[in-house]
């Protein structure tokens, strides 16, 4: 699985994904503009973006390029976070752009990865 990461806190994001210890995840830190082109060319499968709210700078480029239907906010500022059921639903709907706010990377990213891995296995 190839994940492009962009927006704020790329260092923390990369560290958090690596710490989850999945062997078959490749991480590509880049700007959202590069990531958009890579997603379009199917050179990466998913995009994880971070900003202060989880819904703005993080995924703005992707909303513009792929439409709101392909994007979702996993964790927003204020501590509100999607449940594993919601995350699975987003995946079933075919969303591939995930937004996080900078305060909740450590808590929210492992859950999304778990759902993604389960989906590819099942």
């Amino acid at each position: 699985m190839r994940i492009a990461i962009g927006g704020l806190c790329k260092v923390e994001m990369e560290r958090t994904i690596k710490a989850c210890g999945y062997d078959d995840i490749q991480i590509f830190p880049m700007t959202d503009m590069e990531a958009m082109m890579k997603l379009r060319a199917k050179e990466v499968d998913y995009y994880f973006g971070v900003c202060h709210s989880g819904g703005g700078g993080a995924i703005a480029m992707m909303i513009g390029a792929f439409g709101y239907k392909s994007c979702c906010t996993i964790a927003m500022n204020g501590g509100k976070k999607a449940t594993p059921e919601q995350i699975n639903q987003y995946l079933d709907e075919g969303k591939f752009v995930f937004g996080f706010n900078n305060d909740s990377i450590e808590r929210a990213v492992p859950e999304v990865l778990k759902c993604l891995i389960n989906k590819t296995k099942g």
Partner: protein, 447 residues
């Protein structure tokens, strides 16, 4: 910096008139999907204009994306400083404007919110200053570390982008530069630290771009036709609304110029320090205002790609343009000069939008640098405001204040940060002040 010599009555009057008018206009522009403050709401606006989403739905998304900022940053930055901020004023007007079914309702809702803010925070200030344990004096401790610590953010950005060796080198060079320059000249030490760091960051970025261009020319290719078409359509929509963008920008610039409003987390505390100093040391206050203008200018550069991206993908503006009006209005000598300078700036911004977008395409490392600048600004301010909040709490109640503020901070951490990290310092300080007053009233704390 007009207000350093202006009468308090005039400024109060201006506050009661300008804030409700600006809020009303902001709500109208949000209703028309012309301009919103929240960078996160802007990209979703096309869902509304193109009919895929109802006003109610989008308003509830906007509420979810905004409430954390309103409650934490909006509230806690204005209580200690007395300066209004855009999170407090314009995030709610974004929501009101989107929600209201008619233009007139949107204006009325916006004006009502503006009035509620001016009267509400006026009353709150009176209430808090009349408490037995006065904690407003101690709250100046809150903003004290912000200016020096903020000056370090370019070094943090260098660390994120280029690794530890260049970060340590830059930290060393910046601090050395600070010491040498302040020994020999009258320049502000913090500005010089920041300047040295910024220059190094830009030099490293350009060097990397030149290297990348040789290795991987593919990175620099242009957009597909699909994106270009979308950007062109949205740029045209953006230009059509120039009148509104200039009008609201000028109103915000005037509020910033007269010191009742500050646009960013990078300048509000420094501006507050300047206002505190204005009675005794005009020259010192002016230095601090130049410093906050510089902070806003550099923050503006850091946020530029985000502003451009969200505007090009949505065709909607931000109420503050590309946010360079803040730096200009801070150094303008009075409100008239402010308008004379800011109006042409905003027109220029509208026309330059597309070309600046292309520029960032050509220099991907500069774009990456901007993301690191935004991360670094947040990291450094979070740190400065935690130190500030803790020292303010300590100044209020000694070790007892320290432990109460510590408890507030740590409980927030353990709960997964319901209060944003950026706001927890001020929130802890305000909370400690209130708790100390309660303890005083029941006889458990003495001054």
């Amino acid at each position: 910096m007009f207000y350093l010599e202006a009468s308090q009555e005039l400024l109060t009057l201006a506050k009661y008139i300008l804030i409700p008018i600006t809020c009303g206009l902001a709500a109208l522009l949000s209703h028309m999907c012309v301009a919103v403050f929240h960078d996160g709401v802007r990209p979703i606006l096309p869902e509304l204009t193109e009919g895929r989403m109802s006003r109610k739905e989008l308003a509830s998304i906007a509420f979810g994306l905004s409430i954390g900022f309103i409650a934490s940053i909006g509230f806690s930055f204005t209580v200690p400083t007395g300066i209004f901020n855009p999170w407090l004023l314009f995030l709610p007007t974004d929501i009101i404007g989107i929600l209201m079914p008619k233009k007139s309702y949107a204006i009325a809702g916006g004006v009502a919110w503006g009035l509620a803010c001016v009267f509400g925070f006026g009353a709150l200030h009176t209430l808090l200053t009349s408490l037995p344990v006065n904690f407003f004096d101690a709250l100046t401790e809150l903003s004290a570390p912000v200016t020096p610590i903020f000056a370090l953010f370019p070094i943090i950005a260098i660390g994120y982008q280029f690794g530890w060796k260049k970060a340590v080198f830059s930290g060393f060079v910046s601090i050395l530069f600070r010491i040498i320059v302040t020994m020999n000249t009258g320049f502000s030490a913090d500005s010089m630290t920041m300047l040295a760091g910024m220059i190094l960051l830009i030099v490293f970025s350009v060097m990397q771009d030149m290297k990348l261009k040789k290795q991987n020319p593919e990175l620099f290719k242009s957009f597909s036709q699909e994106e270009d078409g979308m950007f062109e359509r949205n740029t045209a929509r953006y230009k059509k609304h120039m009148f509104w963008i200039v009008l609201i920008g000028c109103l915000i610039a005037v509020m910033n110029n007269i010191g009742i409003f500050s646009g960013t987390e990078a300048s509000i505390f420094t501006l507050h320090n300047a206002q505190q100093l204005a009675g005794t040391d005009i020259a010192g206050a002016k230095d601090l205002i130049y410093q906050s203008a510089l902070n806003d200018l550099i923050r503006g550069i850091g946020f530029l790609p985000l502003q451009i991206t969200t505007s090009l993908t949505s065709g909607a503006a931000s109420v503050k343009g590309l946010s360079f009006l803040y730096a200009i209005s801070l150094i303008a000598s009075n409100p008239f000069v402010t308008v004379l300078l800011v109006a042409p700036l905003l027109v220029l911004e509208v026309y330059a939008l597309r070309s600046i977008g292309r520029l960032f395409q050509k220099f991907p490392t500069l774009r990456a640098a901007s993301e690191n600048i935004r991360t670094a600004i947040t990291t450094s301010l979070e740190f400065a405001l935690v130190i500030g909040g803790i020292s303010a709490a300590r100044a209020m109640g000694g070790p007892l204040g320290l432990i109460i503020a510590g408890a507030i901070y740590l409980i927030n951490e353990s709960l997964g940060r319901p209060v944003m990290k950026l706001a927890i310092g001020p929130v802890a300080a305000i909370g400690t002040g209130i708790i100390l007053n309660v303890l005083f009233c029941i006889g458990l704390f003495t001054i």
